[in-house]
């Protein structure tokens, strides 16, 4: 019989931390219940609530919980997500009654003692589960001409702009078109005719751009009866924006610009 040579595994850390310093330790886990609004037009015209319970980590977001449900419990759960890091704006949803991005909402920041409600954003037609038809949203976005219009000669190099001129509309360049603002606006919920905060934010981005020449046309478009004057300054949009854009202020600036040009 020969002695089997046992190889000791490498210790986790080469530096021994005293116990009182704590160190990294294990990430805490907890049980959460997701209460998801389900809708499948091929099965029923009625939407229903469905609960999913799972064990999640303190570093997990609502999107991770939705993934866990889709990958391990119910593959039919349908939701949009793309980059999963708060940039693409695909996964805006109504979490615990507030519009947020599922990929930017940590579970530990929510009340995990109660089920976390997840619904599709309001005011847009639901297609399946958490997916809504974004077409009405993009239609009003397109109407404000969200592109640079310049009537001067085409420059041979980039169009230069001073830092101060750029600062004027910096806030509204942050929009990711997630529709969290427009679908949190009670005026938009009524009939969907109001342009909505997102379209006005994107108009603001060009109206106050010193390189753009179509500001007057955009102001004319937003002077419509469904334009900026339907804003009731309830600040729902500003609170919902995952990028922290001061949306209500941007709408007020567009109102001022229309007034200044008419009077």
């Amino acid at each position: 019989m020969s002695t089997v040579e046992t190889e000791l595994p490498e210790p986790a850390s080469k530096i021994e931390l005293p116990a009182h310093l704590g160190g990294g330790g294990e990430i805490p886990t907890f049980d959460v219940t997701l209460r998801v609004r389900r809708y499948n037009p091929e099965v029923s015209e009625e939407s229903t609530w469905e609960n999913f319970t799972m064990t999640m980590y303190g570093t997990d977001r609502v999107l991770d919980a939705l993934h866990k449900v889709k990958w391990e419990q119910d593959g039919s759960l349908t939701f949009r997500r793309s980059c999963a890091h708060g940039v693409c704006g695909s996964d805006a949803m109504r979490i615990n009654g507030r519009n947020r991005l599922a990929c930017k909402t940590l579970l530990k920041d929510l009340d995990t003692s109660k089920p976390i409600t997840v619904e599709p954003i309001k005011g847009l037609p639901v297609e399946k589960d958490l997916i809504v038809d974004m077409e009405p949203f993009f239609q009003s976005f397109r109407e404000v001409m969200p592109f640079l219009v310049n009537r001067g000669h085409e420059p041979a190099k980039e169009r230069l702009q001073s830092a101060e001129d750029r600062e004027r509309f910096d806030d509204t360049t942050k929009c990711i078109l997630c529709a969290a603002c427009t679908s949190s606006c009670p005026v938009f919920w009524t009939d969907g005719q109001y342009f909505g905060p997102a379209a006005i934010v994107n108009a603001h981005r060009f109206i106050f751009d010193s390189r753009d020449d179509a500001g007057d046309m955009r102001l004319e478009i937003l002077n419509d009866k469904e334009g900026v004057w339907r804003c009731r300054t309830t600040f729902n949009c500003t609170e919902a924006c995952p990028r922290g854009i001061q949306i209500t202020q941007a709408i007020a600036e567009v109102k001022q610009a229309i007034l200044g040009r008419s009077i």
Partner: protein
């Protein structure tokens, strides 16, 4: 090969709703309505608190208010203009406020039209009646003999 092998997305299919935004009206009515709400609000603060102060605080205050007090005020063109401005601004301010609430909450075009018709008729009646009273008010109508205030000279 069928050209329609993959079903088109719901938004483009025949049974999906059409998203047609209402045509632009091209008028600046909503802008002036918005501006009017701000300006009339500021003026109304002065008019209403002035009205309350003169009626309830000055002199004997609330105890002086009676038919004769109102008659005396409306004998003065200053208070006629004051009350007329207050009536018109408050009525138009309130009517426009309710109009926007109807626009925000009524979902069907028919409901909107009905509610706004009722609103505009009611406001018009109150404005016309109020204006008429302010300008034609006579505390001692000729021919009347009973229930006249003491300051009227009974013929």
């Amino acid at each position: 090969m069928s050209t329609n092998a993959i079903a088109s997305p719901r938004s483009d299919s025949a049974q999906s709703p059409k998203y047609t935004r209402s045509k632009s009206s091209g008028s600046s009515f909503e802008m002036f309505a918005w501006l009017f709400m701000r300006l009339s609000g500021v003026i109304l603060i002065v008019l209403i608190f002035g009205h309350l102060f003169v009626n309830l605080m000055v002199g004997e205050g609330i105890h002086a208010i009676d038919f004769g007090f109102v008659a005396g005020k409306w004998a003065d063109p200053f208070w006629q203009v004051w009350d007329l401005a207050m009536l018109w601004l408050a009525m138009l301010h309130g009517t426009n406020g309710v109009r926007t609430i109807i626009n925000d909450y009524a979902e069907r075009a028919g409901t909107r039209l009905t509610l706004k018709t009722v609103l505009f008729i009611a406001s018009a009646v109150i404005i016309v009646l109020g204006t008429l009273v302010i300008f034609t008010f006579d505390p001692c109508p000729p021919g009347a003999v009973i229930d006249l205030p003491s300051f009227c000279t009974v013929p």
